[in-house]
Symmetry: C2
Subunit: 519 residues, 2 copies
């Protein structure tokens, strides 16, 4: 193979439909990245039409007979009254079909703009966008173990994401910058996404005014008119399962919708605690809760983009601990995917989940079980694509780069099997014939550069070379070297000085106007 490899530096054009081809060489990898994936394989539909309808009918009954509470947000209740829902106190009940009708005004697919237009992502349809994990208070690495996240960690993860050709999005609260006051850290987070990445990003949702601030900063970057007409920021809002929407969340989702920005509507259902212990019921509940949240965005602003989200999880019935990357949520997510497509809404599902406290076999097995379910179920926006450990309590530096490498493999996986005269290789069979080898044949020479995904962190050397020259490393050790090297080599994408100044000025004014709050 040596001769074949000698001139492997040629760069291919970026992805075409069903032909997303990762790079052969480190240098080429970034150039071969694509702004988002266009699937070359169909979704994996595991449930029959009859059973899908049963789940939809169960969701209809939950919405009509049990209802959902909307707390601390009179404007949301007003929306529901005007739309014809039954509102009694905080409890809202919905006639079958009503919410489906309301969400039909939301776009099936939309563009989220990046400050570098080459990094704009399409969300919906047959598109797939990988975004880092979100929301951990802790960070960990093999050198220093677990500790609270800081703004420096937050920026490090933005830099690692920006440096990976296999992630498409800068994410949101990659980790909590715990060294910054709670009421001010959203300003630093949004600024850091804009400063250290030129990819799309997410804003704050922890209070209505923080959501407003996030969108205001996007307006400084993109211009007010542009923001009113285009999606430039996402806000990830959670249902308070079971069947409760808190005012903080509905005010935030309405803030994003009002600004024509996309809320990601996500119930987090830990089966047996926040929902039934059986999958079908948890899915029906998830469907009902998400549908209500999506509909509320449309009542706030008809036609605003919104993402139908899902986060099923299971519980260890020995200890009561949540479990992640287990088979039941993985298979359940496939069903949620089927249901979301029937609504024609973009889907957010699963991610690289794990409850392991180390970037070990458990971490990668659980992560892939969950991540493949997202990829198979047709998820369009995959939050938690990289870094998730410790049941979402910790962002791991090592797992982040391991997961990002896996996201690269999934580019090749999602391309599927291309069938044409070249890939069928009849010329190779006629040239090589029985009993010989294909190493140097014309067909191999023509195709080897783009044939196989080459994982950066997998060791494929023979045992002897691995042990004698490679130091007998495990994947986590190689990942530890990789993230340090990546951070050392990171260069920030250029940012217009006037925009940067305006953002810093906005932050200064906002921070000066508030006393620090730590809760």
């Amino acid at each position: 193979m040596e001769a074949v490899m000698a001139d492997a530096a040629t760069i291919e054009a970026p992805a075409r439909r069903g032909r997303v081809r990762p790079a052969r060489r480190e240098g080429a990898a970034k150039a071969l990245g694509v702004p988002y994936i266009v699937r070359g394989i169909p979704t994996y539909d595991v449930l029959s039409e009859e059973n899908l309808q049963k789940i939809e009918r169960a969701a209809d009954r939950i919405l009509a007979e049990v209802g959902i509470e909307f707390r601390d947000d009179p404007a949301a209740l007003d929306h529901w009254k005007r739309a014809g829902a039954k509102v009694e106190g905080l409890l809202v009940r919905f006639e079958p079909g009503m919410l489906r009708e309301i969400v039909s005004s939301a776009p099936a697919e939309f563009t989220q703009h990046a400050r570098n237009p080459a990094n704009n992502v399409r969300i919906g349809g047959d598109k797939v966008v990988f975004s880092p994990a979100y929301g951990s208070p802790f960070v960990m690495d093999l050198d220093k173990g677990r500790r609270y996240g800081t703004l420096e960690d937050f920026r490090n993860f933005i830099k690692l994401a920006q440096s990976s050709p296999w992630l498409h999005h800068s994410g949101g609260t990659i980790c909590e910058p715990v060294d910054i006051p709670v009421n001010k850290r959203h300003l630093d987070m949004v600024y850091s996404h804009i400063k250290y990445s030129d990819r799309p990003f997410m804003g704050s949702i922890t209070a209505e005014e923080r959501a407003e601030d996030s969108i205001d900063m996007a307006r400084i970057l993109f211009g007010t008119d542009f923001v009113d007409r285009n999606c430039v920021i996402l806000g990830n809002v959670n249902v308070n399962s079971p069947l409760v929407w808190d005012g903080t969340m509905t005010r935030s989702l309405r803030t994003y919708a009002r600004a024509n920005q996309a809320a990601v509507i996500v119930p987090f259902i830990l089966g047996g605690a926040m929902g039934p212990v059986t999958n079908a019921g948890a899915i029906a509940q998830s469907f009902a809760e998400t549908l209500a949240g999506c509909a509320l965005t449309q009542l706030e602003r008809k036609g605003a983009p919104v993402i139908f989200g899902n986060f099923l999880s299971s519980m260890s019935l020995r200890s009561g601990s949540p479990t992640f990357g287990t088979p039941e949520p993985a298979i359940g997510s496939m069903v949620v995917g089927q249901l979301a497509r029937r609504l024609k809404l973009p889907l957010r599902c699963a991610g690289n989940f794990s409850n392991s406290k180390l970037p070990d076999g458990q971490a990668m097995q659980e992560g892939l079980m969950s991540m493949l379910s997202a990829v198979h179920c047709g998820a369009n926006f995959i939050l938690h694509s990289a870094g998730f450990l410790d049941g979402l309590l910790s962002m791991s530096y090592e797992k982040f780069v391991m997961d990002a490498d896996l996201c690269g493999a999934l580019h090749s996986y999602l391309a599927g099997v291309t069938v044409d005269d070249n890939t069928l290789a009849m010329d190779a069979f006629l040239q090589v014939g029985p009993g010989s080898h294909f190493l140097g044949c014309d067909h191999t020479m023509r195709n080897y550069q783009t044939a196989f995904w080459d994982a950066a962190l997998s060791d494929n050397e023979p045992f002897e070379k691995w042990s004698q020259e490679g130091g007998s490393t495990d994947m986590a050790t190689r990942a530890n070297r990789q993230w340090k090297k990546t951070l050392a080599e990171y260069e920030a994408p250029p940012l217009d000085a006037a925009v940067e100044e305006a953002l810093l000025d906005y932050m200064d004014r906002k921070k000066a106007a508030m006393a620090d709050a730590w809760y």
Copy 2:
């Protein structure tokens, strides 16, 4: 959850269709094992009808225009002549459709009998059978590292497989017992499978007389007439890709077929070396080679069971090393599954492949990528389900138990999502309502025991408990403890003394009749 867990010892009935439910507790696990899985989810079909036909036509052209060499087996050439193939020297060419017609006499599904009838497996249709990895010269564990396998290791792996409720088959050459002469070790291997396991097993294929010996020993166990009428032993034979069948392999496959036993027909195509570097061509070649092998079994004995096998692999184009558990073979296997179903033949595909030299993140990520492709593509007999590391050069004690635990998770995964009044849980929603929890509700009490897979080797404790009480272990360390515990607790299933004596006598006579050979 404590109260809920107090009486969790109830044992469920074994699997019903689509309701394979793993155990909650260690003691219950074995009782909850099933002899084989019946899929509750459909296969994942990634390629269109049009593209499937293109691959089939390419395979037809390979068979008609390039042909396959059959070396050192005149009887095989005679079969092909009589069947109407074009035979020129060793090269055999086939008219389109001819081999499909010949394999139509093979059963779409069959039973392989075990000495304990409760462990009989069905192979084909919607059934899934997990069997250990096969063929490594080395073994490894965290204590002693890598070394050549011995008969003791071989027996240890049989014991570990027998002890796992999540494997269904004892396998074949789980590792090479390198301390036994090459020409005699098949006797010890078959004897050990019979002695230390009461599950189905595989025999030797490395020489025609060793295949005969293996089947003879099965005849001692099951009776000659029974063996002539039923499948009791499998033989895994490899094509010498590209497009060559060696006489050793065809003689062995004919030996199995002649005895009405099932050969597993497997090309091992390392893309770029033994086949084209593009997936579609490698799949067409694999299809052609396997089809020819399957057809030869039917010419030897019409109606003999046979398994359509597949082992796609890729190559690191940087180093020329084979790679395993990579995305292209995973997605390619899904296509092979579609093709095999069109032939109505039982399918063997993929397994828990990895090139890692440790039971680390790489091992489990690559393993699951490959294993899920087997599960999704509809594989009926999944060889290499447990233990595979180091590019098949080593059986790992730790990975064996980690993979076996993963096989347990796949029992739950393959059950899919059950949709009925109980799982839809409407009573739970009506009882719990918005904002409360499901921990103690009637529905949870009724269902928690069977709701979620509980992984034996995953740590789901909170970080503090994991680090303070659990010793901050990784999965491999927990696996190291697990296999030692399992071996210490192993008890051999009872074996009829007369049968054992007859087997030992057969071995003694065979061994006495040959000088030791070490190659």
